[in-house]
Symmetry: C2
Subunit: 463 residues, 2 copies
């Protein structure tokens, strides 16, 4: 059973956290450490720290824990001795998969595969999922260019020196405000914060504007439609510009809701047209669901809500799926060995844990729970922005994937997040001035009320 | 207890593996699958497949299992209920580390830290370890260029568009035949096989020749010295060329023994001079020990054998360390938050498993075991190349990190690897025509004799 509510006894970080921070800092840079945790004592929606403080956690390890802390279904799975060998003997999964792997993939990943995507490749994190999806797109594109023929001897030789034609000057389009990871390939498509990118060499790839919509969406339909039109026109323009410069745009990567970039939304119509444009230019459409996937919007995948007739070519996942990977259509299968490969290719134990998550979400009807708890939380945020019209605006989101903007900018946002922590609410920021809610799928309406009440107190003290 | 020896009952892959392959292939490309395994039944040096075949495994999941299958020390660690919450509650390690994390890092990674490297960053695989090491090098270089000042407003703005000065045109030198991973940044420094690289856009970074030495090394000292001189002269030339073209070489990345590229060795003197050259040009020296680390050469790190006065700036690891990361000097610490970061930053359970490995290697004196078993195996390979002078040459290596070349090229090598499999020896290829031995640290002299005898039979049948 969970705790009754949060309970803060010390400063945050408390004295024990501070001591551990000194210890760790002697070995490793620790700029990002908030406090140290007691994960054994943490339960459900509540995170316990080493000083005995108890937080209601609506951030859930950067949105990566689907069922909160110490969920019985996961404990049971891991306590099963039959699963022990999976953990101890991590295989080179591409070469020597375990006997139960096909069935496990069927019961976990394929049980929630996006409509139209019949294939899956497992990976270990969001970055390698996106990196390999990019590679799959470039291989698909060049194979098409060659009419299905294998690479020429000249291509095979020149690629060894990173030179064309073997290492061709291909590009991938992304959007302002996007976040797709931090390895060098992913980073070329990430544009959320300068500090992630500065000083790192990159690739000259096209970046289209992501719509900057006005909220609430239903009150600004005409303006928002015009803004989306402007962005889609730019997508067209960039395709023409790069293609005619001999630097073909082979694909477009997009998040259904820009998460790290500030919870920026666009309409289903925007994404449907984006899909049509990629089709028109012979480019791939890659949907990055690393943060939006696994039920947080009230559907398993956020892009389910777009009602596409023509599905995405590739959908990447990680975080709440507990391992990474990408779903894809038959067309995007590697056409020979060792083109999409690495030593581990993810981990069978993560697939087994994902299976437990998929079953739990179904058995406990958690998507319905997300819709209910999310609606209580969003209504609460909307009430707060009415009550504090000089502090908050733009409450928005789907399911429990919610955010609100702080009108005093970054400093104001950081103060509210810090003040919430002192009231026992563990939240997080995104973009320049947004607070994001990323609770687990077991977050319930009564938790939402606690969050709203705590926020009300914080805002009143700040008023 | 282990099995008495290998035992092959079916074709490889056997009928059950073939059936599972059909199942998996309906969901995912499977070009690289060899057979399916029964990891519960596998023990020590022996891998059991789903058809009941038993292999003596000298490849150990692409060199990634340090203690073989189901080692009691790892089973014990994972069966400890206190470790269960580590597995179930994977944290965002950079933000909210578990209470025992500083101590765990101390007992595992820092207990085997290369001399002079006082800091460590945990990562999840070899690729993100190298990608982040590259980023740390670029940040260090640009911070030096600015005399320690933070990035300028112009740098912060331009980097968002992947443009200079914020995304500067910096380069990193690597070697012909190198393998440093397959994400797009790593792939720019990987030059082992065209199929890994072709069709993927890359970065125009300098590639120096890696020495192609004659074996046995002790019989070709003068020629080998001249070959190493040639390569080091090229390193100088590339530094001058790229630096004067305004595309500064910020670092050099090198494997102590090129593994995937064909087990190519160079002398300690070569690496000492390479270190001195990087120092001379103000570039970082990055040693990639992803495959050579963790005792396989008879010392914990292969570069220990170089006896450097001036240690490497960064050493990356993964595979047998069970998680990834990099050691570095104080100078290479990120100078502000979120520059070297991702959601998971590795995993505490992998650090805990690494701790069990470090302890076991010490308690069971496994480095000494590696030296003994390796010497029996290398002597055996040398005898075989004497006995079959038209089939084998260039037996070479350190510890159990051994290889031998097949004189009939790739086809010949692939046949020997396949024939060995039918005799119950699971080995692997590398480079164009080499067989590589990558057993676990628990591989003993009597296992080495079994390998040599099986190889003798295969070669006799091929003669
Ligand atoms: S890049 Fe994904 S785990 Fe290393």
């Amino acid at each position: 059973d969970e705790f009754d509510g949060p309970c803060i006894k010390t400063d945050i970080p408390g004295p024990k956290s501070k001591e551990l921070l000194r210890e760790l800092n002697a070995l490793s840079a620790t700029h990002e450490v908030q406090f140290f945790c007691n994960y054994e004592e943490s339960k459900g929606n509540y995170l316990v720290d080493v000083d005995g403080n108890i937080f209601l956690d609506i951030y859930m390890q950067i949105s990566s824990l689907p069922l909160g802390y110490n969920h019985p279904a996961l404990l049971k799975m891991l306590n099963d001795p039959a699963n022990m060998s999976t953990l101890v003997n991590r295989p080179a999964l591409g070469n020597l998969p375990p006997a139960d792997f096909p069935q496990r993939v069927q019961n976990s990943l394929m049980a929630v595969a996006p409509k139209g995507l019949t294939n899956v490749k497992t990976m270990a994190c969001g970055s390698c999922s996106n990196e390999n999806a990019f590679k799959a797109i470039f291989m698909w594109y060049m194979t098409k260019q060659r009419g299905g023929a294998p690479p020429s001897p000249e291509e095979l030789e020149s690629c060894m020196y990173n030179k064309s034609p073997g290492a061709p000057d291909l590009t991938l389009m992304s959007f302002t405000g996007a976040f797709h990871g931090r390895t060098i390939g992913c980073l070329a498509t990430t544009h959320s914060k300068a500090i992630h990118k500065v000083d790192i060499p990159s690739l000259d790839w096209p970046m289209a504007p992501f719509p900057q919509l006005k909220y609430p969406l239903e009150e600004h339909e005409a303006e928002n439609r015009a803004e989306e039109r402007r962005c889609l026109d730019q997508v067209h323009a960039l395709f023409r510009e790069y293609n005619s410069a001999g630097r073909p745009v082979c694909g477009v990567v997009v998040e259904p809701i820009q998460a790290e970039g500030g919870d920026n939304h666009a309409s289903p119509a925007f994404f449907r047209e984006l899909r049509a444009i990629t089709r028109e230019y012979g480019a791939a459409f890659l949907v990055d669901e690393v943060q939006t996937g696994v039920g947080v919007t009230g559907s398993w995948w956020a892009h389910d809500l777009w009602q596409l007739d023509d599905p995405p070519d590739i959908v990447t996942f990680a975080k709440k799926m507990l391992g990474g990977g990408y779903f894809h259509t038959e067309e995007f299968r590697a056409n020979s060995g060792y083109r999409i490969f690495n030593t581990w290719l993810g981990e069978p134990s993560k697939v087994a844990m994902c299976e437990a998550v998929v079953k739990t979400v179904q058995e406990e009807n958690l998507l319905e729970n997300v819709r209910q708890a999310g609606s209580v939380l969003l209504d609460g945020l909307k009430d707060l922005q009415m009550k504090y019209p000089t502090q908050l605006e733009n409450a928005r989101g789907l399911g429990t994937f919610l955010a609100i903007d702080c009108m005093g900018g970054e400093t104001h946002r950081n103060k509210i997040v810090a003040d919430l922590k002192m009231k026992g609410i563990q939240s997080g920021g995104c973009g320049e001035r947004s607070i994001r809610c990323r609770p687990a799928l077991i977050f319930q309406p009564h938790h939402a009320e606690m969050v709203v009440n705590a926020m009300d107190e914080v805002l009143a003290e700040n008023a």
